[in-house]
Subunit: 114 residues, 2 copies
Amino acid sequence: MQNYGEYFRALREAKNMTLREVEKQADVSNAYLSQLESGKVKQPSPLTLHKLSEIYGVSYDLLMEKVGYPVPERKEKMKSESGKTSIAYRVGDISDDEELELLNYLKFIRNRKK
Amino acid sequence: MQNYGEYFRALREAKNMTLREVEKQADVSNAYLSQLESGKVKQPSPLTLHKLSEIYGVSYDLLMEKVGYPVPERKEKMKSESGKTSIAYRVGDISDDEELELLNYLKFIRNRKK
DNA sequence: TATATTTGCTTGCAATACTTAGCAAACCGA
DNA sequence: TCGGTTTGCTAAGTATTGCAAGCAAATATA
């Protein structure tokens, strides 16, 4: 993915967290998080991705793949293994653009009722 | 692992390869390989590890673990999640209500652009 | 309104991955 | 012996990760 900065931002905003909240929980500086979300970071380290994956509740592998690191066989497996069962729930059915929209909508949902 | 430099050297020598042979196949400079094997490198990038894993015939995961990167736990998490929704896999932990809303919104997105 | 806090961001800076250039010793065939 | 090649290595330089410090605007609090 080229513009994964926006993706990280969407993840954070979907959780309604500030840069400094993530900084505390992940032990990653808010300065660096800002750079990450604005596309100024090329490839954050696996350790950083791991911390963020836990906070945002997404898989470590997914983030590794997002930023362009080689990923130990997973995507291919999931695509080839499960047949047509539960196609509506399949991961690959959602494009990156759609995913961003869903994250933004999730943020809207969570802010709506307060 | 602390002294994985020697480990990489052992891998290379077990294959009877020179630094320059590995350089050609992996597209990693012999200078850097030398530093790597003499313990002057802290954490080679995942991409470099991936290339070396293919040449030396060891698993990518193993090398990732050797140099101290977090390694995806493929035991419980993924299996317990696979039965659930894949949207959660992509956008993070969500409630059932939120999932329903997101699925409806996804349908809206897809019908919209046509 | 005025002051304090929050929030995102930018600017230097240190550490480190990785490269190009090149050195020195070992190894070759004539 | 001698010129060339191979081999591992070091030195110097570039690029990027990630941080501490701090700024400016928004927001909260008095």
